[in-house]
Each structure stands twice: as structure tokens, then as C-alpha cells.
């Protein structure tokens, strides 16, 4: 790596960034890499908007009395935090940014199969985001991101329809991304890129796409039904006319449980790339990791009922969903074990992306195992709808998904921009994120078991100590997020040139120049090796000389 940094580049090679200039060249681009950059900018904005709401929630919860804002405002805070983070950050996060950028490159394609649809999906995302944000500006929404009826359809006095329309629209953006990925993986692979040679990041995104395509339409129609019910005071979930509010929950979770796999699966794909690259090892159990991605996607559709054990769903259904939930944990466990085994006898470096991967493996293990608490019927009755749930999904979503996203961003940043980020600051920020995260969310497992219900504006005073710890952790975590934002922006101008392959990584995306040219490759590559062939003769030092 050091050699690469010191190699001075004589002139900028033609690449996707300097091929055209001006805002039009960005807003009308059909290049998947530019669209990925547009997505990175938009989801970063959404992430920080969601983050502001999170900070406000944590500041409010410093004291048990609920004295900072009134309860109505607080309810809007957590609702907007949920809606923005789930639908406008987590779901598009890795697929629409890193996936959009690197999935075509990793399979040796010039672009996604439908570049115009790809651009359209970004515009749809922006339209959805505008609706969701206008709901905030108009006065907020207070239903929680789950939009449970009949509260959302009848009782809430806030801008539910605006927010629901935003989510509805954003759903189509997600569908189009998924559709594009599926077709691209099937039809656009370079010669020699067989299914058995696909990088695991591609497998993970493919599995994610299946969920996006199969699940998202159901939540779209469900939210449409809620919107219609709200607008015309007539509908199918209203108990007064014989409707069943629990049916709404079934329809909502049919998508929204698999949706958590939309969020985490691509993160798992990133970790497979990181662990192999920074251990210089071929992945342990390639086919098991690939199959477990598909397994998670498929079984993930069968387990949604574990959100509903105390809702009055039939207890036989509870039994069924509990058992299947145990089953879906197996492929996740397989992944964790295989990543760990990959490091065995490797050549492990401590570059920032690998630190994030370490963090991911640990935190995801905690997040996954605490998920089993919630799948276990006897315990779930007590801990569901408490802070235990909040802690669990933040361990998976923030400890898992956001760490993977940051790890992937650091890993591919030199390819995206052609520049290195400052390593020292990056390690420091990674440490802050890890420490701040644990301090924020670990205490919530305890408050949860002690019985603090979630979505409480004011809480019983005995929970205060743990809540203060959470808030303290959140401020560290917040700092850990702001630092990368600053140094990434800084590095775009002042970062040292990265060279084509600073990590000596395998994978087709590293075989082309940094930043990549508009059509990714000078000539369509022909693949002759398995993914992660770190032992093969195109040895690290050789790659240096090419720079």
C-alpha cells in the first residue's frame, strides 16, 4: 500500500468523474457509478436527518420526567427517526450505493442492465424522501414507523398520509434497484464469471434483490390501504365494521421482517469482501456463505409472526413462527463461523475496513443471539415492546449494518474517488463508533428486561441511570459519525492518490483504474479464477508495479 501512496500520478486518467462536468451531467447520468454517488449523497443527508432525531430522543430521555419537549413532539421524533432511518437510509443504504457502484464491476459488466431505470429509481427515491420530509416540515407524524392501525388510520391527527405516500413511493425505488440487480446478475456476467465464481457481495445483493422484489409490493399496497382508509374513513382494517387490525400487522410484517434482511444481507456481503481481503485468504466455505444468503432471503419470509406473539394471534401460529425463526438463525450463524474461520492462518492487517469487520462480527453475534430471545415465546412475552427490542435491532442495524456500510465505504473509497482517507483519523473514528455504540445500546438490553416500554416519552425513575449511560454513549457515537463525514470530504481534495489497488485485493473492480473509467473496463474481462484467489500467482507485489 505504501508504495502505491507514494507513486505520483502524472495526469488524471479518464474516469467517470472527469468524463463530463456540470450538474446536468450528474442529474441526467445513466452511469451506475454516478448514480451510486448520487445515492451516497442522498442517504448521507437522510442519515444525518435521522441522526438529529435520534439525538433529540436521547437528550429527552436524560431525565425521566419528559421535560425537554412535550409528548406529542417526542412521539414525532421517534416516528420520524424510524421512518427516515428505515425507509430512507437502511433499506437503500448498501444496495443502492456500494451495490450500485460495485455489483456491475464485480461481475465484469459495463453497467447495470437498465441504466435508465437505475436513474429513475434515484428520482423515485428523492420523490419519496421529499414527501417524507415534507411530512416533517408540515408538522410531523406520530404513528411510529410501523403505522399500526387503527391508530394510523383513524386516531392520529398528524400527517400520516404524506409520510405513507413517501414510504410507498420509496418502495418502488427499492423494487427497481432489486429488479435491475437480478437481471444484471443473470444476464450481464463477464465470460467465465460463473455462479460459483461470483463474489459473495454479489450473492448477498442478489438475495437482497429477491426480497425487495417479492416483499416491497406488499407493504406498498398495505400502506396504500391505510392511506385510503384514512382519507375516506372507510376501509378494511377498521374493527367497527368487522375489520381486523391484526391483519394489518400480518401484511406489514410480511414485508417489514424480510426488510431487516434487506438491510443486513448486503452488509454481510461487504464483510465477506473485507475479511478475505485483509486476511489475504480465500473465503472459508464459499458455497455455504452464498447459499446461506439465499437461505436467509427465503426463510426470512416465513418468520414474520415473531413480531406478533402478544397481539392475539393464534398461539399455534406463534408456535409455528417461533420454530421457523430458530431456523433462520442457522444461516446467520454459518456466516459468522465462516468469517472467523477465514481469518485462521491468514495474513491479517489492521486497516480501518478490517477493524469495522471485527466490530461487525462481534456486534452482529450479539444482535443475532438476542434476536433469539425475541423468538423464544416465553421470554418474548416479557421483552417485546420494551427497550430490549430497541437494543436488539440497533445491534443488528447499527452494530451490524452501519458498521458494514462504513467498512465498505472505507474499503472502496479509494476506488470511488481515487484518493485515500486519513488512516489515523479513520481508526480513531472506528474506535469511537464501536465504544459509543456499545455504551448506547448495551444498557438498553437491561432496561428492556427490567420492563421499560419503548416509545415512552417519560419513564419510571428507576431506569434513569441506564438511560443516562445510553445518552452519553449516543454522543460518542454521534461524534464517531461526524468525523468520517469530515475526513471523507477532506480526502476528496487533499487525500493522497490511492492507486488502482491499494489493498492488493482480488475482485474485478480492483483490476481497473481508480476512479474507474465510464464503462468500467477498457475491455470486457475474462474470468479464469474463483473469487478471492488470494493464493494465486498474480501476487501482491506485482500489482504494485502496475500502478
Amino acid at each position: 500500500m505504501s508504495t502505491a501512496l507514494q507513486t505520483p500520478e502524472v495526469a488524471e486518467t479518464p474516469n467517470y468523474l472527469n468524463s463530463e462536468y456540470g450538474w446536468k451531467s450528474w442529474l441526467f447520468t445513466k452511469d451506475h457509478k454516478r448514480i451510486a454517488v448520487l445515492y451516497i449523497i442522498s442517504i448521507t443527508v437522510m442519515f444525518f436527518i435521522g441522526g438529529i432525531f435520534a439525538s433529540l430522543i436521547r437528550i429527552e430521555l436524560l431525565t425521566p420526567q419528559g421535560d425537554l419537549v412535550n409528548s406529542d413532539t417526542y412521539n414525532k421524533f421517534f416516528t420520524m427517526h424510524g421512518i427516515v432511518m428505515v425507509f430512507f437510509f437502511l433499506i437503500p443504504s448498501i444496495p443502492a450505493t456500494l451495490g450500485n457502484f460495485f455489483l456491475p464491476m464485480q461481475i465484469g459488466a459495463k453497467d447495470l442492465a437498465f441504466p435508465r431505470i437505475n436513474l429513475l429509481s434515484w428520482y423515485i427515491y428523492i420523490a419519496g424522501a421529499i414527501f417524507a420530509l415534507s411530512a416533517i416540515v408540515l408538522g410531523g407524524v406520530d404513528t411510529g414507523w410501523t403505522f399500526y392501525t387503527p391508530f394510523s388510520s383513524t386516531y392520529s391527527n398528524t400527517f400520516v398520509i404524506t409520510a405513507a405516500v413517501g414510504v410507498f413511493i420509496a418502495g418502488f425505488s427499492s423494487i427497481l434497484t432489486g429488479l435491475n440487480f437480478i437481471v444484471t446478475v443473470h444476464k450481464m456476467r463477464a465470460p467465465g464469471m460463473t455462479w460459483g465464481r461470483l463474489p459473495l457481495f454479489v450473492w448477498a445483493n442478489y438475495a437482497t434483490s429477491l426480497i425487495q422484489v417479492l416483499g416491497t409490493p406488499v407493504v406498498a399496497i398495505t400502506l396504500a390501504l391505510v392511506g385510503l382508509e384514512r382519507a375516506f374513513h372507510i376501509g378494511i382494517f377498521d374493527p367497527a365494521i368487522g375489520g381486523d387490525p391484526i391483519l394489518f400487522q400480518h401484511m406489514f410484517w410480511f414485508y417489514s421482517h424480510p426488510a431487516v434482511y434487506i438491510m443486513i444481507l448486503p452488509g454481510m456481503g461487504v464483510i465477506s469482501e473485507l475479511v478475505t481481503c485483509f486476511s489475504r485468504k480465500s473465503i472459508f466455505g464459499y458455497s455455504f456463505i452464498a447459499a446461506s444468503s439465499l437461505g436467509i432471503a427465503i426463510i426470512g419470509f416465513l418468520v414474520w409472526g415473531h413480531h406478533m406473539f402478544v397481539t392475539g394471534m393464534s398461539m399455534y401460529a406463534s408456535l409455528y413462527f417461533s420454530l421457523l425463526t430458530m431456523l433462520v438463525a442457522v444461516p446467520s450463524a454459518i456466516k459468522v463461523f465462516n468469517w472467523t474461520a477465514t481469518m485462521f492462518r491468514g495474513s491479517i492487517s489492521y486497516d480501518t475496513p478490517m477493524l469495522y469487520a471485527f466490530g461487525f462480527i462481534g456486534l452482529f453475534t450479539i444482535g443475532g443471539l438476542t434476536g433469539l430471545f425475541l423468538a423464544t415465546l416465553g421470554v418474548d412475552v416479557h421483552v417485546t415492546d420494551t427497550y430490549f427490542v430497541v437494543a436488539h435491532f440497533h445491534y443488528v442495524m447499527v452494530g451490524g449494518m452501519v458498521l458494514a456500510y462504513l467498512g465498505g465505504m472505507h474499503f472502496w473509497w479509494p476506488k470511488i474517488t481515487g484518493r485515500m482517507y486519513p488512516e489515523g483519523w479513520a481508526k480513531f473514528a472506528c474506535l469511537l463508533v464501536f465504544a459509543g455504540f456499545n455504551l448506547t445500546f448495551f444498557p438498553q438490553f437491561i432496561t428492556g428486561y427490567l420492563g421499560q416500554p419503548r416509545r415512552y416519552h417519560a419513564y419510571a425513575p428507576e431506569f434513569q441511570v441506564l438511560n443516562v449511560m445510553s445518552t452519553a454513549g449516543a454522543s460518542v457515537l454521534g461524534l464517531g459519525y461526524v468525523i468520517p463525514l469530515i475526513y471523507f470530504l477532506w480526502s476528496m481534495k487533499y487525500g493522497p492518490k490511492a492507486g488502482n489497488n491499494p489493498w492488493n485485493a482480488k475482485g474485478l473492480e480492483w483490476q481497473t483504474t481508480s476512479p474507474p473509467p465510464t464503462f468500467n473496463f477498457e475491455q470486457t474481462p475474462i474470468v479464469t479464477e474463483d473469487a478471492y484467489a488470494y493464493g494465486s500467482e498474480s501476487a501482491p507485489e506485482e500489482a504494485h508495479h502496475h500502478d
Partner: protein, 99 residues
């Protein structure tokens, strides 16, 4: 690229579809109890298959396309089936013991 079916095939398919449309209409006028819905759905499935295999020419498509088409219906049935895991067992009386 693909074989092109003859006009004759299309017309026969259309005639069959129309025939079954009226068949389903008239059968619905006869009280067959629970069988009314079964027959109506069987006819609908049959008509759907005709449209998919002939009009949409799925029979000439690749196995991959067939897999995706079948997957859609499978997934919808899965959605329904899992709704009914809850709904059919709501009234079962739980004994105190598990099994």
C-alpha cells in the same frame, strides 16, 4: 430468437378462454355449495395458464423465466398460507399442555 406460434393456435386459445368465461358465469348460477368457489378458481387457474403459456409464450421461454413466473405464484400462495396459519387456528381451544 423464438418460435412464432400460428394464428390458429392463438384463435383456439382465445375461443377456449371465452368458452370458459361463460362456463364460469353459468356454473356460478347453480348452487353447488362449497364447490362453487372451487370450480370458479379451477377455471380461473386454467384460464390463467392458457394466457401465460400461449399468449405470453412462456412455453418457449427459458427455464429461468419459468422459474420466476412460478416463483411469483408460489410466493403469493405462501403469503396466503401463512395468513391462514393464524386464521384457521384462532378458534382452536388451547389445552393447558403443549401437545
Amino acid at each position: 430468437m423464438h418460435s412464432v406460434p400460428s394464428v390458429r393456435t392463438y384463435v383456439i386459445v382465445w375461443a377456449t378462454l371465452t368458452f370458459f368465461t361463460f362456463a364460469t358465469y353459468y356454473i356460478a348460477q347453480i348452487d353447488l355449495g362449497q364447490w362453487n368457489i372451487v370450480i370458479a378458481l379451477l377455471i380461473a387457474f386454467f384460464k390463467m395458464s392458457l394466457v401465460i403459456f400461449f399468449f405470453m409464450n412462456l412455453k418457449a421461454e427459458s427455464p429461468l423465466t419459468k422459474l420466476f413466473a412460478a416463483g411469483g405464484f408460489f410466493w403469493m400462495i405462501l403469503l396466503l398460507g401463512q395468513f391462514f396459519v393464524d386464521y384457521i387456528s384462532r378458534d382452536w381451544m388451547p389445552g393447558g399442555k403443549m401437545w
